[in-house]
Subunit: 279 residues, 4 copies
């Protein structure tokens, strides 16, 4: 019996590694995405029933696929050791929860949308892009905190001074922060400014300083992260392939070490002879 | 007869290589562009007729020019081996198609506009710029796919929740994607947000998260590609000329190799003597 | 008595260095920020009185904390030698000024907002970000001056020509500069342009040239500074850790120097022998 | 008499080099800028007359200053060899032209504004910034040409299709180019799009493709130039000071050359001995 099961796992591994099976999974995900999209159009009754069937089919297929991948592992624990597997597992099980009540139906539809994200876990190039994004998070963290502090201070000042001018824009600190985000995106920010300038003629300094500081911090965050990540990627690639400047520098470094060893040997040879000559 | 034809080809090659002829071709392209532009202004009957004549003349000249370049090749196949030749050929032949019916006349005018693109294939600097653009496409491909997935998911969520609020902006998934593109360009995005916030007060989180994610991915794509392409260009140029840092590193690498060879020779010399001394 | 005081200072140093105490200070700052934020919402009388109490408590705590840090120093002068200490001192003492009159109450609230900035002086990562910002100021200075000159010239031209068209936008040079800043952020700039184009049909050249020049100078300033600062950071980090390209180059440089010394020794050895052989 | 003149020139050179004189020139330029700015405000008759006097004084001072600098040169030709001198000369002489007629008075005021630009030629840091800008022009040239071709083609297509929808935006090719520039700055571009989409439902593809292509080319131009200029500046600075990576690479290169020479000498020494030993 145990042998039989091991035999079965071999087959599951083969199935999981199968290129055709992988392509089929991608096709099903895209199909599931299309069904989600199509449902936002007005559809007739029979088409809706067809979609219902398709939806159930896709859900079952995803369940089957994840079970195959789980059984293909020696121990279930190994399956959950990889981040992407947990990601897939959560998405699949979440879409299994039966949500039949009218209010919860919305949640069910929402959960099914996130199945499109499984494309990211399946296509290696997208996985690399996403992990670059995740790597940037710690660096982004502190810059975001600094940005939040700037927003908070400006919003507090704004809501103290301007709440009397327009309470819809500056009524309390959270509304003021939203208004400031709008100013930061330059969306009709002059309307906001002209309104407050009619009461506080010098308030342009508030807006201009805010725009300068935020633009600087934001661009710093964005450009800094991208250039940083690219810089490391380049050097890693160049070192590995030996191509490009970083690759050549690495080559020189290694050869400088062998040159030094060779020179040390030559020096010993000469010194030994010197000693013998003196004897 | 064969000799005659070979002689003729020699002349065609000379004509194609002629700097004056090239300049004349550029002048004709610019003229053709000006005619296209001038036609968009209200013009009197005689001027229109003049333009018609000019247009026919330009079409014939382009036909002539491409025939000259085709005959200048040893075999016709060689002509089609270069991408830019195919590009020129398609543009020229497309503008030859007789489109006299009123409905198709528009298509004829459209095709003639693309003759301006021949400037790109004629001026080497523009060709370099365009090929840099084309080189960036594979990299852009996956980032665009990631961006499309993000847009798709947000559009699906948006059309499920907000289609009741404003069906003109969120009616179905394709309209929702267009609305999201508008939000991504910050074009009156607050109007869109305030509308949905009146029904879903927490929907600001939807917009803000979308703006952050898209700005990050988009800037990553744009800056990443540009810096990448520039980095490679710089290193290639520096290596070729031996100037700059990458050029010097390349020089050092080559000389490190000769130093190693020289050291190996010295070591052999010393060891040989050592052996002789021991004998 | 003197010994007693030295003993006390030891305790203050211990308290200042205490990780728990530091965390508690951060918590108090965040609490103070929350109180500031909460006050912008309509609050009932008892809650307001609670906030008043909290506010007094926070003010006293900050006073206590800064006194502890002052007493922990050997001499008071040492305390004021660090920029961040002066920064904290100004913020704390400013919020101590009793402002009871209705008009001045606003100023008191404003000063209390700036206490949130103390987060920056407490969290090392934020301090690094801010000092990078401050380092960029000299470079930004001249570019800002150039930008100001450009704005001034365009504003002078604009207010001479367009003040008759719309005095609210172009009435005098300072209003014109604000309008130009609006144009630079693309905020409804076409409305401004179409208005002046109805009187001066060629004024589009004024706007387009302005947008190009400002976009170039601004992007130059922003990107230039960020890339500059990052470049120096990278190289400094790589040199210190010996990792990456700059680190390897530094390693090679040092080893090239030892190779040279070794070679010089070998050459002397050989020449000495040569001389002896000749004797 | 000739000696006297040479003596006088010595004094002019001394005056030109004088730091105080330079500062005074800067003060006069700033004063001239302030007068220009102040004139845009409504001013009373006596103030206007004062400004008139100041203006004449400034004009005369500038004339005097440039004459001093001209006489300080050995030959007048040397003066005109420097680009910045020509720049100053044109600005000063242009503001001398007597423009008394009401219509020409505007021109006179305009010319006087450009005297502010003399600040750029006086402050070295601004001169460096401007020459970096001028260096970037050749590179910008071809990218601008490519951008112009893209605008031209899209404008031609737009004016053919959409002139019937809204002739104010798409009436002819030049109006269409202005509209496209507006779309490129995202200024109310959705209004333009929704209008044409009501007639041509697929016209969103026209706008989206345009935005993508232009954003790519524009960002390429801007970022490319800035990063390029910075890259060269860094390497030049690092090479000259010997600091940083590029400086160290340069140091290694030079020392690698001396190592090679030393090794060549050692090898000759050994080979000579070898030959003698064989004899």
């Amino acid at each position: 019996m145990n042998v039989n099961f091991s035999d079965l796992r071999q087959r599951f591994v083969a199935l999981r590694e199968n290129k055709l099976f992988e392509t089929f999974v991608i096709v099903v995900i895209v199909l599931s995405a299309l069904v989600i999209g199509a449902k936002t159009y007005p559809i007739s009754e029979p088409v809706a029933r067809l979609f219902q069937l398709l939806d159930t089919g896709i859900t079952l297929f995803f369940l089957l696929e994840i079970v195959v991948r789980m059984l293909a592992e020696r121990r279930l624990r190994d399956f959950f050791k990889q981040g992407w597997n947990i990601f897939d597992f959560v998405i699949v099980t979440a879409s299994l929860i039966p949500v039949e009540e009218s209010q919860m139906a919305l949640l069910g539809r929402l959960l099914r949308i996130f199945r499109v994200l499984r494309l990211v876990s399946l296509i290696p190039e997208l996985r690399i892009l996403l992990s670059a994004f995740l790597q940037a998070i710690p660096r982004m963290g502190y810059v975001s905190l600094l940005m939040f502090i700037i927003f908070y201070i400006y919003a507090a000042v704004g809501s103290i001074f301007f709440s009397g001018v327009n309470s819809e824009l500056w009524g309390n600190i959270s509304i003021a922060m939203l208004t400031l985000f709008r100013v930061a995106t330059f969306e009709d920010w002059t309307d906001v400014m002209y309104e407050t300038m009619s009461v506080f003629p010098l308030s342009w300094a508030y807006y201009l300083s805010f725009i300068f500081v935020v633009a600087f911090v934001f661009l710093n965050m964005m450009i800094g992260i991208v250039v940083d990540v690219l810089h490391k990627e380049h050097q890693k690639y160049e070192r590995e392939t030996g191509e490009g400047e970083a690759g050549e520098v690495h080559w020189i470094r290694e050869h400088t070490a062998t040159i030094e060893q060779r020179l040390a040997r030559i020096e010993t040879l000469l010194e030994e002879r010197q000693d013998r000559a003196r004897q």
